[in-house]
């Protein structure tokens, strides 16, 4: 469904609503996935759907109802249900307000027709190229190829009318070679950049290079995390930048805006228009997104807000709202860690003894306020000796305060989009001078 059809659907919702104020969010998607293992496809999926979410405000109370049926009778039932729910909701301390119309422009290359029109055969061809690399390198592979197009329209009775159409695609692969594994990934809005042969070759090289891994002692190490691994850590900072967690005290930033909280080389932004990940220019309330510096050269600069928290804290609305109302508060969905100046090879070359980590797994919070995280290395962990990668290392578990680690670190000069289905952000590789591993494994 294109933007004009979504806008027409949203307009019908607003016309048929009898609430004091109404917001309609219409989302459309067409996504396809080819998922494989051991050189055969075990999931081959194609899904189409359109959803409508109605927020009705009646006498200062809010009700929300959603459906994926769009005929007139279904819309009448939907707006009526939202209004009925509102009647039972208590009136909040701050009356809800809908945002007004604002002009927004989608960033370049957010929508690529070649991705939207990609066929099952095209995805299968990327997978087949990966299979060929697995076979020729004596590995077996597991991964996926996906293409998707999606659209979002937000309209409300205060005049907001914002639409965005985007495409997404990606491929990732894990290669297994006996006692070692390797990983490679690529995500974009343009399916033409998906190169199965290159991804398969890189993952296979990692697997082969880390064969016959050795155990190293846990403890404090100098560690280089490639973007796929670093991204798994960075995403756990996101909630700390929310005005809600800042105000309520669960963020490490609480009460520290303006202070130096990380090393001078650390700049973290939220940027919906980054060329590696161009996304929607407005949030889930229809507010234009601001491109903000959250951490600038180590100094805590700002937090992100939505309409509720901007008003509550007397701060600007940065356009980081989730569908309202919600218990999560505002959230930065487009994190970008700024690069450094040195190539990754230089970060390795200047390391006397350390580890290089390709990817992490099951990272979880041990202590939210102290930003202590735990997790495991996987899919290519290497020993660095005298500035060179010398051999594979068996996987390790870490326990580390991320903010402490970011106190003394350096970044590579090349950023990469990472995160797959689970989050999306842009990050370079990072070298931490001090990073603590707690235990090891026998693989």
């Amino acid at each position: 469904m294109d933007a004009s059809a979504r806008r027409a659907l949203a307009a019908r919702v607003l016309e048929r609503s009898r609430a004091d104020a109404t917001e309609a969010i219409v989302t459309s998607e067409h996504r396809a996935l080819t998922r494989f293992t051991h050189e055969f496809v075990h999931q081959n999926v194609d899904v189409e759907n359109v959803s409508i979410r109605v927020r009705a405000i009646v006498d200062g109370r809010t009700g929300v109802a959603s459906s994926n049926a769009g005929d007139d009778a279904a819309i009448d039932a939907l707006v009526q249900r939202a209004a009925e729910i509102a009647a039972f909701a208590p009136r909040p301390a701050e009356p809800p307000q809908l945002v007004a119309r604002a002009d927004v422009t989608a960033p370049p290359a957010a929508y690529v027709a070649a991705t939207a029109n990609a066929s099952a055969e095209e995805r299968a061809n990327v997978a087949a190229a990966i299979f060929a690399q697995a076979t020729s390198n004596g590995c077996w592979c597991s991964g996926y190829v996906t293409t998707a197009e999606g659209g979002l329209t937000i309209a409300n009775s205060a005049g907001a009318d914002a639409s965005f159409d985007g495409t997404e695609c990606g491929a990732n692969v894990k290669m297994t070679a006996g006692d070692s594994t390797g990983f490679a990934e690529r995500y974009s809005t343009d399916a033409r950049v998906l190169d199965g042969e290159a991804l398969g070759r890189r993952a296979a090289e990692k697997a082969r290079a880390s064969a016959d891994p050795v155990s190293v002692d846990p403890g404090e190490w100098t560690v280089i995390f490639e973007p796929a691994a670093f991204g798994e850590l960075v995403i756990f900072l996101a909630s700390h930048f929310s005005a809600q967690s800042y105000d309520e005290g669960s963020s490490f930033l609480s009460g520290r805006l303006g202070e130096t909280v990380m090393g001078a080389g650390v700049t973290i932004r939220d940027d919906y228009a980054h060329p590696l990940r161009p996304g929607a220019p407005f949030d889930w309330e229809g507010t234009p997104k601001s491109r903000v510096a959250l951490i600038e050269r180590g100094v805590a600069r700002t937090i992100v807000t939505d309409s509720t928290w901007a008003k509550k804290l007397g701060r600007p609305n940065t356009g980081h709202g989730l569908p309202a109302p919600n218990a999560q508060g505002p959230y930065p969905l487009d994190l970008v860690v700024e690069p450094g100046t040195a190539p990754l090879d230089d970060l390795i070359a200047t390391t006397e003894r350390g580890l290089l980590v390709t990817r992490l797994w099951y990272v979880r919070i041990v202590d939210q306020r102290k930003t202590i995280l735990t997790g495991m290395t996987r899919d290519g962990t290497f020993l660095i000796e005298n500035g060179k990668l010398t051999r594979g290392v068996r996987n390790l578990r870490f326990n580390q305060s991320l903010v402490d680690a970011l106190g003394t670190c350096a970044f590579s000069n090349e950023q990469q989009r990472t995160g797959s289905y689970h989050y999306n952000l842009v990050a370079p590789a990072v070298k931490f001078d001090h990073f603590t591993f707690a235990s090891t494994t026998d693989y």
Partner: protein, 483 residues
Amino acid sequence: MEFSVHAERALDTALARGAAYADVRFERTRTERIEVRNGDVAALSDTRSEGFGLRALVDGAWGFAACARFDDASLDAAAARAVAMARAGAAAGIRRIGTIPSDAYVDHYVTPLERDPAGVPLGERVALLLDAERALHSAPSIAVGLAWLDLWRTEKEFYSSIGSRIAQTIYQSGSAISALAVGDGDAQIRMWPGDRGMYFGGGWEVIELAELRENAARIGEEAHQLLAAPQCPSGTMDVILGGSQMSLQIHESCGHAAELDRIMGWEANFSGTSFLDPAERGRLRYGSPIVTIEIDNTMPRGFATCGYDDEGTKCVRADIIRDGMLVGFESSRDTAAQIGSASTSCVRAESWEYVPMIRMCNLNLLPGDVPFEHLFDDVREGVYMEANRSWSIDDRRLNFQFGTQIGWEIKHGKRGRMLKNPTYGGVTPVFWNSCDAIADAASWFEWGTPNCGKGEPMQTGRTTQAAAPARFRNVAVGVGYGR
């Protein structure tokens, strides 16, 4: 059955296009959520969704297409897409694993209910949560109080090209409260019931059983007390895990480890593989002889209980660990066939738009014979830990580290002072072999998890791990804080 005409058309189209077998699942879901946060209703929503997902088998490869429109053209198009996807996959792959089922069922199933949520006024639902959330603020340090409930009603109709016609109506419900205390640079959380709330198959009676109002003040006070509690010590000592933490321990170190698709590498690029191997069935000592873990997808109050799974297999009960030995797996029809076994009815899809896959369903640790209070009797030094706060396990399900919201010191058989930030770690079979006592049926409970994640794109599963508290010897404690 409502969708029989649509189903017949879609299946006929798939067969005409070249499918050797096809099935189609129509679903209509209603999801209601209410969430109260610091006195405000932060969410009050009613979501309805309907559509169908069709699987087609061509040359031993599967294709899946899903659509929310039921007109003839959409049914035909979805069937054609599923066949095209299967054909493209068959051409690219070098193996064929899809199998045609031999059993067809004509049946129906409805979750037993005591009180249909549809009959509970919205005002009553909201009032319960407002009352409970208000009571959480029983101490001045409570910065965030949360109370929420979820209600699901799912109507499914499953049809297959070999004649299955199965109608099911599934009710699932749950609720929880949570208090976050903040002070002196620290933040401590407590939740009730357990660490995810109380969730299982059923209606409003599930919400009432949680006794949110009755426990809220105590939970708020415990969160407050944790700010000043001493840090959990580090060292090797005995551990007693409460029931909800035991459910998490089963979930992560046995439930996911015994999924046969994961063992066969189907999840390798994301959620990993497993240390378990079908060749070790009957030979691997997974745990001590008192450890028996079984699938029961027919159990009363099970969150995953239904009549048939999402590929039309009748739900069963099956052993995974019997007297400490590995004896079985969570499986689908295709994966079970690979090891010469039968499906254990563990295939689920999050909704109509998701492809069915192996999911942890109801997987339970059978109770032991020790009254809960006697678990402490001969513990010279240890920690009693309850309610999960942090969980991480490696991608072969071996090296784990878990943390809980609260703990209590154990000295010379007695439970003592409260401890904050408890953590422990271990290696799965070593840990389960150190289990020397499991509490009896009096403290066994069906702990449900509403948000088990697996697959790409991730599907959220609803699962039960029933368990009683248990005791483990010589465990590494305090590992999350620098031991």
